[in-house]
């Protein structure tokens, strides 16, 4: 069963077409990379997936819930990490997580347990009482990922979560989320413009100029070339 299904999605800003008939689906428990150069339409797609924008045409289903007709059920099954940080810098890690937990109906002991569990998973437990402002970029990202896990979502959406991080932090975050996917059977959609964040066993959707150029496993799309070469060739051909 597909955990995330996008069908024939269209979106435009005035006369500028941002998404032109985008469609793909991800099976339960799979890590899917959404690869595309800057301006491909990745962030617009994320805004539509999270309900911040509504598409005039096309459909989105999260864990079987249609975004248009059952937005609350769809959002309740979704964890999101946005490209720009969405943490309150002057609040502590734990306060940020408690706020989010409550927005998803979790409070008291249950919320506290989930917060400890999620922070522990991301190796952030000892920083729970630190103010976010004091954390480095990598730790802020981990906090956001931990936060997105609190309500145990079926689908996790991450919009270029490694932007602005140094190489070791980038690798650590990428590995963390791959491990999460393997351990918990959570479905992941990971937007990026960097091919080295994609493993050959991952699902891969290549988005360019608002269109899906390819949707398959990364090793099938790459063929016998390195993924980077295949990606550049595809993007270059239509560029």
């Amino acid at each position: 069963m597909s955990a995330l299904r996008v069908s024939d999605l269209h979106y435009r800003y005035g006369s500028k077409v941002a998404l032109d008939g985008v469609g793909f689906s991800i099976d339960e428990g799979r890590f899917c990379a959404l690869l595309g150069p800057n301006g491909a339409g990745k962030s617009t797609l994320f805004s539509l997936l999270t309900g911040l924008l509504a598409a005039p045409e096309g459909g989105i289903a999260i864990a079987g819930h249609d975004m248009r007709t059952q937005p609350k059920a769809a959002l309740a099954r979704m964890g999101v990490v946005f490209q720009q940080t969405t943490l309150d810098l002057d609040l502590t890690v734990a306060q940020n997580l408690r706020y989010f937990a409550a927005l998803h109906g979790l409070s008291g002991r249950k919320a506290a347990n989930r917060i400890d569990e999620a922070l522990d998973r991301l190796d952030m437990l000892e920083r729970a009482s630190e103010k976010v402002r004091a954390l480095n970029g990598g730790h802020r990202r981990r906090t956001e990922i931990a936060r997105a896990l609190l309500h145990r979502p079926a689908v996790m959406l991450l919009d270029e979560p490694t932007v602005g991080l140094d190489a070791p932090a980038r690798a650590a975050i990428t590995n963390h989320v791959h491990d999460l996917c393997d351990d918990t059977h959570m479905t992941v959609l990971w937007a990026t413009h960097l091919t080295d964040e994609v493993r050959l066993t991952d699902e891969l959707v290549i988005l360019h100029k608002g269109k899906v150029l390819a949707s398959d496993t990364a090793h099938r799309i790459a063929g016998d070339r390195p993924l980077q070469a295949a990606f550049l060739e595809m993007v270059g051909e239509t560029g």
Binding site: S47, L53, P71, K72, L75, V80, T86, L103
Partner: protein
């Protein structure tokens, strides 16, 4: 239950952020105090006030100006929390709020309610300082003012929320502050009674009378004397509903609120 949990969390977050910004608290308090202790003291001789409801006797100008200054706190705070919304939106924490699995109108209402509660705390701090200074209201008035302050706070917060949904950039918002706050405040009964305005001109009086801020101030003025002003309440609630409807429409995802490049 999740509705209530979210409401409490949103209020807590606003309070935590507020405590963290001590200079904002002090600035919000200094403004009306300067008006009260400097402007009103100087103006007292220049402005004669006749006995009009809810006052039963001649009053000093300091007494007259108190409800207007409470309104000022609500007005500045309503606009400031909208400023924080625009800022939040840019920083992204508005995205976190709007992707919660709750109806958008409820989330926006919670945000509004939380802002109003913070404003009311400030109003009471202001009333306390005014009381220490010797400007006191009937004791019961401090209790009956609460619902009036809440309505006023919600109305002005809703106005700010509506504005924030239409203002794309922070720079533009500063302009809106000037175009909204100052006309609303000066074209109201906050500083002078409406009959004084009528002496200056009928049109000016009429503009002041339909200004929702005037209605909120009058609601607070009567409530501080444990009196109920139905027209003021009606107007204030009507304006709250209109501003809130505008804000919910402004934050409708189909309108493409959070426009981002692809």
């Amino acid at each position: 239950m999740i509705y209530f949990t979210a409401l409490i969390a949103i209020i807590q977050r606003e309070a935590l952020r507020y405590i963290g910004q001590r200079e904002r608290f002090i600035a919000a308090l200094v403004r009306p105090l300067v008006w009260l202790l400097v402007f009103a003291a100087g103006f007292r001789a220049a402005l004669g006030l006749s006995i009009t409801p809810p006052y039963l006797t001649y009053i000093t100008y300091e007494i007259y100006i108190i409800p207007g200054l409470c309104g000022m706190i609500l007005l500045f705070n309503g606009m400031q929390s909208s400023l924080s919304l625009v800022y939040d939106r840019e920083m992204g924490s508005m995205k976190v709020l709007l992707t919660a699995p709750l109806p958008r109108w409820w989330l926006l209402f919670c945000k509004l309610f939380a802002g109003a509660i913070i404003s009311i705390l400030q109003c009471y701090t202001f009333l306390l300082i005014a009381g220490i200074y010797g400007i006191r209201m009937p004791t019961i008035g401090y209790v009956t003012a609460f619902p009036a302050l809440l309505v006023g706070g919600l109305m002005l917060g809703a106005l700010g929320l509506a504005l924030s949904s239409f203002v794309k950039q922070l720079e533009n918002f500063a302009g809106v502050m000037n175009f909204v706050i100052f006309p609303m405040f000066f074209l109201s009964s906050a500083l002078y009674p409406l009959w004084k305005m009528a002496e200056a001109g009928r049109l000016l009086h009429d503009i002041c009378a339909v200004n929702p801020f005037t209605q909120a101030v009058e609601l607070i003025r009567f409530a501080l004397y444990a009196q109920f002003n139905l027209p003021a309440l009606g107007w204030s609630l009507l304006a709250t509903a209109a501003f809130l409807a505008l804000a919910i429409w402004g934050y409708d995802p189909a309108r493409g609120l959070i426009r981002k490049k692809g």
